[in-house]
Symmetry: C2
């Protein structure tokens, strides 16, 4: 493999000149630049990452800490990974993958070994053991998700409270009065994410404003039979639901399936508002009125914050804080809009 010294020899310049051509940190005459560039191209020279990291104390790597296990395929980490990797590459950064099961040690390792210049961490628990170590790291950290106490942290997340509010407002606005939320399965709740409560808070707020009360049924598991159980519960009693809100994405198709099985057509006999990505909402049958869930957008914003932190030259770093991305509601096939009495 070739080094910058080889390039220098071939171009008839010193190694430092090659370095300056690559970084552009000192003026280089057009003629020299071309000669060096030709040598670089000829040898297909690419700088050694380790040496570069050592000399510049910049790795051009982003550490990405992802959750593991369980319903991850469902939770949809993949779009986050894709978007983050894409953003990183666009800025000529690479992505080092670390799993959450390394815990706080994973963070300190990334930092202490100088494996990366910054960390993106997808938060799991509201009260995460890793949060306390963050301030002691040299590298900046951006969280996707919001822990209980976000002081001194950079967080980006869906505005779950607004999402919950939006869902209720849509249903209330179209005349629904007996709204039931289909809660997350125990598995999700057990992880202690804060978004469960945040969404519910939005629901409660909007319900209070509208002067109605909402129901809440807990999903035993995100399967067809789990949905059946829960839907039956929501439809039973003296006041059967006329609108369902389903914050758990993977439960939505099961809820729809159950309703159809029961002979109730979503959008005709009952309304369903889901919390999911727009593309998922469109692909379901019938297409679901949804409050949007935009992993790519979230990721982009997180990366924007990250790069602002990285580019900051002692000047004015972006302030700590929580950036909440509002959801949009898109009316599709599953809401009854003619209900208004």
């Amino acid at each position: 493999m070739f080094t910058s010294k080889d390039v220098a020899r071939l171009a008839g310049v010193s190694q430092s000149t090659v370095s300056y051509v690559m970084t552009g940190k000192r003026p280089i005459s057009e003629e020299t630049r071309k000669r060096v560039q030709a040598a670089i191209d000829l040898l297909s020279y690419q700088p050694n990452a380790g040496a570069q990291a050592l000399a510049s104390s910049r790795t051009r790597v982003i550490g990405l800490v992802v959750p593991v296990g369980g319903d991850l395929g469902n939770t949809g980490v993949v779009p986050f990974l894709e978007a983050i990797t894409q953003c990183a590459r666009e800025a000529d950064y690479d992505v080092l993958l670390v799993t959450a099961d390394e815990g706080a040690a994973g963070l300190t390792r990334l930092d202490a070994r100088s494996l990366c210049d910054a960390i993106v961490m997808m938060v799991i628990a509201a009260n995460d053991e890793r949060i306390p170590v963050i301030p002691s790291l040299r590298v900046p950290v951006v969280l996707i998700g919001v822990p209980d106490d976000p002081v001194g942290l950079h967080c980006v997340d869906i505005d779950f409270t607004q999402a919950g509010r939006l869902a209720v407002e849509e249903l209330v606005g179209t005349g629904h009065r007996r709204i039931v939320v289909v809660g997350h399965p125990p598995h999700t709740i057990a992880r202690g994410n804060s978004f469960v409560g945040q969404f519910q808070r939005g629901v409660d707020e909007a319900a209070a404003t509208a002067g109605i009360r909402t129901g809440l049924v807990q999903l035993p598991e995100s399967t067809p039979s789990g949905a059946r159980e829960v839907v039956d519960k929501a439809l039973s009693g003296t006041e059967p639901a006329d609108g369902l809100i389903v914050p758990h994405t993977s439960a939505i198709p099961h809820v729809l399936g159950t309703l159809l099985q029961r002979g109730m057509v979503p959008g005709r006999d009952i309304s369903v508002v889901g919390h999911c990505t727009d593309s998922a909402a469109e692909e379901m049958e019938p297409s679901v009125t949804n409050v949007s869930h935009a992993p790519r957008e979230i990721s982009r914003r997180a990366m924007r914050t990250l790069f602002a932190l990285l580019d900051d030259e002692g000047g004015n770093p972006p302030p700590y804080g929580v950036e909440l991305v509002p959801s949009r509601l898109t009316r599709r096939a599953t809401t009854v809009t003619t209900l208004r009495p």
Copy 2:
């Protein structure tokens, strides 16, 4: 941040001694070792990755090239990622994530910049543009998936042909004679993976052996309505199917749903054999008789090969070749076993 020199000073030894304590490449007296270790612990010393890579020309990083876009969440890359990362960490390696859309340049970058010691690549196309550059890389590469011409490559994959055979044999063995395969959606086929044809080959072989002919219906898209269309086709005509084989995991629930809608109970009125992970098979309703799909097992084997290549000291590297992992068939609720006339 502390360096090995700091540790050395604190322990009253030279820097090289610290290095030898950490690597164990030279004998160190028990007393010195303890003193050094105490200093390491006290300072929470961790070696600088860049310096280590530069000095040893070993990065302790595995490059992982993953496919992107489209139905990836469905395809289930996540378990591969998890298993590979876990294996890597167990051997004290990190994982650098690269997406397939970088193409061959991604591979050469990993290699030329010495970003990693080895590469795991999840193959997409049977005739992949990246395959030809592999032999020119200094780092070993292991493929998950098999391209058309696997000469000079290390590949690990599911034995799709055996899987197809197994599915047919199960149905034939339980008395089915009118077997229809529900093909992959165009989106998947367009990617040009070789496994589509391989599975079908297994199906054809087993059918020929049994002296029957199988049908094939193409799924227009992996949605409930796509499944409906395809199932109707399979059930129509003078010889309606008595057994369905569904190689596309995400189509299985839709096929089951359609059948139930049509009043046909899988496992009573018709049989369904899916190709999916065991856990997915168990979670569907009804639980699906499946030919197993074991991403974690595949990943582990790939990593085993990888480490064999890395550990090899000029001695006897593992030979090039394709390692096919056989599937198991597990009989669950969706096969009629009382059909035998």
